[in-house]
Point group: C2
Amino acid sequence: MTEVTSLRPGMRQLARSEALWRLSSVPFGRVVLTKHALPVIRPVSHILDGGRLIIRSPGGAAIVHSAASEHGSVLAYQADDIDAQARTGWSVVVTGLAELVGDPDEAEPYLRALDPWLSVGTGHIIRLEPEIVAGFELLPGG
Amino acid sequence: MTEVTSLRPGMRQLARSEALWRLSSVPFGRVVLTKHALPVIRPVSHILDGGRLIIRSPGGAAIVHSAASEHGSVLAYQADDIDAQARTGWSVVVTGLAELVGDPDEAEPYLRALDPWLSVGTGHIIRLEPEIVAGFELLPGG
């Protein structure tokens, strides 16, 4: 499912495949969750594996606990590459059910790939199935 | 109030005033809200006025309605300037009560200052009182 966002002239909506490709082209983004009913946002590094978003759970156990719950937890993840001077670039948001990768053998290559340089990373891997993918590009001169 | 985030060696926590100064040094960030119980994140441009964050409400009426409610609405806002290659930069998150600036005379200079180049902007201005300010800097070589 691709969410149609409101666009103005000078913005182009990205198709799902293009949005995921852009997301895979940058090393980090921002994970959004709810903690004690308050919105929380943290920059973390990510990779994509078979179209699924993989992050190392950031410091603080809330996200791990909610992802580990029986039905998972809905997370949003945003990445962009925007040149504010030129007013060009793109932004992508994926939303979907997050799950904890509990199998150590399955988690191990992800833990190696996701060096926690950007945030305090735990030893827990979160995998998100992008259900809603929304993205836009700012067109030059738009 | 400044939230103490988990930091690893090589990260330095920003004092509230420094975090707000960094925020004011960039033209855009990402607003986080909850819509139909789902987390939503959108890039928007911002300014700071007297220590308060001013944004133009992004396309979609949800944020306007929740900010216009009697008790306002808690929003989180994130901005960063991160060089993934050099692994340097900073990130700031402010969280607080958002309110709709309903007085047209008060809103007018903000609407002029906030050209909605980054998102479909409405004619509504949202003002956020930063209650929790959290920020870190990635130290070179850290």
